[in-house]
């Protein structure tokens, strides 16, 4: 029974991403939307935490939110998958439950 965790806060401003990473379990999915999309970029101070999460979880970023913030897809951490809104809907179907880390 996997959970889709939706995070919408920049990890550089708020602790939602940090808290999500500390509570998400093996096999869960994490989707970064809105300001959280910047967390997908490699080379940042939190990239290590995201890479650690990728060991046993899947991580997604909403492509439109990444592009809107001037970040191209070739800059994101290896292993993070880019989805659109249709992909977002699919993730809520594939995972039995969702939790938003507002």
């Amino acid at each position: 029974m996997s959970m889709l965790h939706i995070v919408n806060k920049s990890p550089f401003e708020r602790n939602a991403m940090d808290s999500c990473l500390k509570h998400a379990r093996e096999g869960d999915a994490i989707l970064m939307i809105e300001d959280a999309a910047v967390g997908a970029v490699d080379g940042s101070t939190i990239a290590g935490d995201i890479k650690a999460a990728l060991a046993d979880k899947t991580v997604y970023v909403l492509g439109g939110d990444l592009a809107a913030r001037g970040m191209s897809e070739d800059r994101i951490i290896d292993g993070i998958k880019v989805v659109d809104y249709a992909g977002f809907v699919d993730l809520t179907v594939e995972n039995e439950k969702t939790q938003s880390w507002v």
């Binding site: 029974m1 959970m3 602790n15 939602a16 808290s19 500390k22 509570h23 998400a24 379990r25 869960d28 439950k97 969702t98 939790q99 938003s100 880390w101 507002v102």
Partner: protein, 134 residues
Amino acid sequence: MATKKFMYVNRKAPYGTVYALESLEVVLIAAAFEQEVSLAFIDDGVYQIAKGQNTDGIGMKNFSSTYNALGDYEVNKLYVEKESLEERGLTADDLMPIMWEDEDEDWAEKPSVRIVSRAEMADILAEQEVTYSF
């Protein structure tokens, strides 16, 4: 109507924003639906049930006593994360003694607040079917 596990996740301090108050309003209404209700207090959410709240100086209604009424609505699973308390220099003694009366044990008073570790909290969150975040 089917019974589902409903979780109310509270991660924000009271008064600075309306989320804590309006979260509590949902919980009180939800009680009438006879679902399995749990509340989680994580991160700054632990301040929502801190004891000794006094709003005289800010001109806002102190709604903290409402948490004491939750037991009457059979809402008695208030999970508080130990690590969240510790990170803020708090202990269980800083929280309101929120109780409920167990009908099956001659109305014995029992604590509604359950201090759990972060790992236990992760498991509790994973068990839920509907999660509202405030």
